[in-house]
Structures are given as C-alpha cells and as structure tokens.
Subunit: 190 residues, 2 copies
DNA sequence: CGTATTTCTTAACCCTGATCAATGGATCAG
DNA sequence: CTGATCCATTGATCAGGGTTAAGAAATACG
C-alpha cells in the first residue's frame, strides 16, 4: 500500500525514497476491518486519516437514530474536529468496508513538516482546496431538494451508491429510507 | 483598520512592525459600499477576502431566484472556489453592508509566505480549522429541520439575525420568507 | 440448501413547507 | 405629504417527506 501512497503523492509533488522511507518508519499505514470504530462520539482522538482503500462513514446520533453526514473513500482525507479543537467529538467515524488508511497525529505531521518543509505547503494547499470543495458541496446540498441530491449522487458518485446500503444514502441526503424508495420509484417511471 | 488586523493577528502569532508595514505596502485593505458585487457568477476572480468590518453574502441563482448559502462577518475569511480551481464561479459574492476587507491574490500570499514563512503555517492551521468548522456547520445543517436551524441561528448568531433582512435568512435556512414568518409565529406562541 | 437477519418496498394517513394571492407596515424619493 | 417600493405577514390550497405497519427481497450463515 505504501506504493499507492507514493503514486498518489507523486502526482502532486516530487517524492524521494528518503521521504517514503520516513513514512515507513513512522508506521502510518494500517488495515481496519469493516465496522471498526475509528472515533466515538464524546471521545477526543488525535488521529487524522487518509483513505488508501475502503470507505469511512461519519454519523451523528440524533434521538437514538444514526444520521450520516459524510463518506470518505479512496484518496480522501479527514481530520476530525476534535483533533483540531481538543473537544469531545460530536460524531462517530466508522469503516463501512475493510479499509487501508494512513493515520497520523499532529505531532507526526509536524515532525514530518520540519524534516520536509514542502509537505507543509502541500498540506496547506490541500486544506484550502478541501475547504473550497467542502463549501461547494455544502452549497449544493443547501440549494437542492432530496430528489435532486439523489440524482446528483448518481451523477457524481455512482460508485458510492453501489457501495453503501440505501438506508445510509437516504440518511446522507436528509430523508428516511421509505422516502428514498418512493423517489426511486418516481424516477423509474420517467 | 490596519490596527484591527494587527490586533487580530497578534492574538494568533507575534507580529512585527516590519510585517505590518509589508501589509501596508501591498495595499490589501479597502472599503466597499453596500451592494458592491465582489464576484459574479461565471467570473474567474483571484481575490480572497478577510472581513475587518461589515458583512458579505454568497448566493446562487436557481431558476432566477437568489439562494443564499453563506454570510461572512468580522474576522471571517473566504477564498472563492474559482480562486482555487480557476473555473468560472458558481455563485455571487456581494456586500450586505458597507464593508472593510483585506483582499489578497495567491501571488501576494506567496510573496508574503516567502518573506515571512510563519504566516504559511498560520494559514495552513487556519485553513484546517476553517475546514473543520465548515464541516461541522454542514453536519449541523444536515441533521436539523428549518425550525431548528432558525433557533440555532438565534442562539449562535443573534447578531446576524439583526443585521440582515429576514428573506435572506429564510433563504439561508432553506425555506421561503412566508415559511420563516410562520415558524416565527409558531415559536412566539410558546 | 433452508432459516434468520438485514435491507428494501409499499400503503395509509399526517405534518410541514411551497405556492399563490392579498394585505399592511416601513422606508424612501420627489 | 404622497406614491412607489420593499419587506413581512396571513390565508387557502397543494405537494412531498415523515410515521407506522406490513410484507417482500436480498444476504448471511448454520
């Protein structure tokens, strides 16, 4: 899997053997089986993740009900809010599939940034891009109806639709599984 | 206003006269009157903004109707997506009030980062924080009803409720002005 | 295989926000 | 002061998602 990481990074910047060896030494890559809980509501973790393989899901517990707000698949990164502010996490982070992840703490990152400064520039640029992308997704969500959100998912993320159960997707687009069923039926008639 | 900026920055890092003078030289601070359009849908701008005073609004045009997705007030920053990806902007950015803003291009930022590297670390950390905050707002929006969103606004951003017209707020929480009126009426009865 | 469990679909009825239309208040220009 | 415009409110009716309950389909597992 380290080669997947190298391949991904090499598309963004030049990476040396030395740098990749440092990744190896820090033992940041690990496998997690399906349903592994990476972060529980109320916990304070210091781990950020980058998905090399698999799929993660973020959900909140609202009146005992799971409300999914995000999925993370290959080449996506998540730094839980508790890593940034040190407060108990408001949500759960779990593996929807068997997954291979890069897991790093801020300390490990700083160690790495000091040794290889260009990675800090990379991370700043990536964070800015992710912020812009996230803002855009947020906007799209706000200006769309559930039906439009489902169609948008089909267009831009068909992969995800096939990988996760529909009741998770329903939650993700802000409705109940029954309603997603109805929407699918409506759309099929056209 | 440069002193407001200095005061803000000094809460985060040590700032020297030399650094503030560089800000002056770059002429990044400017005033904009109410209703000024900072960015139009379809345009490609290279300007990022930081609000020293006033209020900005982001909106999309959906079927000829304005759909507000964000407000930015004092000490908030916005890097429009077009600055990051160079594609035409999907939204409009306008001043809701007379505003004083820091406006910078990526070139100006890089110039500054090269001269004063600690600002790059500051910006990376801020981008990461903003990403976490934005993700959290997104989540909150997703798991809330319009009524809950309005109550949440009152709790966390009463200031904004008093500064912008209700039909903008209604759009922001995803409903029509008439519905916000009804929600307010419902709530008043309790 | 066959059974259990999980996931998806359907139906009836309810509730909230959308739509359309009208009204009243506030603000502003002349 | 007087329209004109903008904004907030109200009412009637409509559409779409929520709720509840049942059953069908798919999947897992002994």
């Amino acid at each position: 899997m380290i080669n997947d990481l190298r391949h991904y990074l090499s598309q963004l910047i030049d990476v040396s053997d030395e740098e990749m060896n440092e990744f190896q030494r820090m033992e940041v890559i690990a496998s997690y089986s399906k349903d592994t809980v990476l972060l529980r509501e109320g916990e304070v973790s210091n781990k950020s993740y980058f998905v090399l393989k698999g799929c993660l899901r973020v959900y909140y517990l609202v009146d005992g009900e799971e409300r999914t707000t995000a999925f993370y698949t290959e080449r996506q990164a998540i730094t839980p809010q508790c890593v940034v502010d040190g407060k108990p996490s408001a949500y759960h982070l779990v593996c929807v599939e068997d997954s291979v992840l890069v897991a790093a703490t801020p300390e490990m990152e700083n160690h790495f940034f000091t040794k290889f400064p260009k990675f800090e520039t990379l991370c700043r640029v990536m964070a800015e891009k992710m912020l812009a992308v996230n803002q855009l997704s947020f906007d799209k969500y706000m200006i769309s109806s559930p039906e439009e959100r489902y169609l948008h998912l089909l267009e831009t993320n068909k992969d995800l639709v096939n990988r996760v159960p529909q009741y998770h997707l329903a939650s993700y687009i802000g409705i109940k599984p029954e309603s997603l069923s109805r929407i699918r039926k409506r759309l099929a008639k056209k």
